[in-house]
């Protein structure tokens, strides 16, 4: 009995470069990609490029700290004050 044919390793490797770089592949998946990349310059370059890209994006994330503007809770406060006002008993004149 013949085993079902596996999909071509090149297409599969190209689709899993990110998963490989993130360490999201199973042991078997890792080996499959590494064995293919050892013989495929395109996939080997792909691994290095995705690795470089992830490092570059991480460095941008570290360099661009943002602070929320001071009045960021203004609408929440106004809404809470409105709700509080509505629940206050009406005073007679």
């Amino acid at each position: 009995m013949r085993l079902p044919r596996r999909p071509a390793s090149h297409g599969w490797s190209q689709e899993h470069l990110s998963h490989y770089v993130d360490g999201d592949l199973s042991w078997l998946g890792r080996k499959r990609l590494e064995l293919h990349a050892a013989q495929c310059p395109e996939c080997s370059l792909g691994i290095r490029a995705v690795r470089g890209l992830v490092r570059l994006i991480h460095s941008v994330g570290r360099d661009s700290a943002e602070t929320a503007p001071a009045g960021i809770f203004d609408r929440v406060r106004a809404d809470a004050a409105k709700a509080h006002g509505a629940s206050e008993p009406a005073h007679e004149a």
């Binding site: 470069l17 990110s18 792909g46 290095r48 490029a49 470089g52 941008v60 809770f73 809404d79 809470a80």
Partner: protein, 198 residues
């Protein structure tokens, strides 16, 4: 009626206690709870909408929705993923509105300011800066669903599980979306530049 502790005492309360108080209408407790995440949320939304005024508007609206909806928050998800989900949905709503008006959803180049290299810094730092700018443009050109995946996972550094929960898809679908996003950015920057940067 809610008991209202001083701000210092509120800082020492646990998240679950702050949630309980916020559900009972304590706006100070809600602010304590949410303020731990507003800088990051603002950064994410700014990356998504690309305009500081619009980002502030989106975050204010997201906080208002969270405040009004705190009663529906279920503690089985973390507060910050719930809040981010509201923020990301609001940002996408703003982008859709912009599209309907025929405006671009691309991020403006000057919306995120990177640190400029000084004269004393070596040449490779200037190259890195240039590459950083090219990266910003490439991320800005992504469609919102891809941009969101990249911003949450790679820029904000959230785990796949957290980012997938915020976006509202399964982890496998999120990983696939992230891969597509990276491939699009990779195509714009070129492999040689990325290998050199790595």
């Amino acid at each position: 009626m809610t008991d209202d502790p001083p701000a210092g005492a509120r800082d020492r309360l646990t998240e679950s206690e702050l949630i309980r108080r916020a559900r009972n209408g304590d706006v100070g407790a809600f602010e304590s709870l949410a303020s731990a995440h507003t800088d990051h949320l603002y950064a994410v939304v700014l990356r998504l909408v690309g305009d500081r005024t619009e980002a502030e508007d989106v975050v204010q609206e997201a906080l208002l929705r969270a405040w009004r909806g705190i009663g529906q928050f279920h503690s089985r998800s973390m507060f910050f993923t719930w809040l981010y989900r509201i923020g990301v949905n609001e940002a996408n709503r703003a982008l859709e509105k912009r599209l309907r008006q025929g405006r671009s959803v691309e991020v403006e180049d000057d919306s995120i300011v990177l640190v400029a290299p000084t004269a004393e810094q070596p040449a490779h730092t200037a190259e890195q800066h240039e590459l950083g700018e090219a990266l910003d443009r490439a991320i800005a050109a992504l469609r919102p669903r891809y941009r969101t995946a990249l911003v949450l996972r790679d820029i904000e550094g959230l785990s796949t599980r957290e980012a997938a929960e915020i976006v509202g898809v399964g982890e496998a679908a999120f990983k696939s979306r992230l891969h597509q996003a990276r491939m699009k950015v990779r195509a714009r920057l070129g492999d040689q530049a990325l290998v050199a940067a790595g």
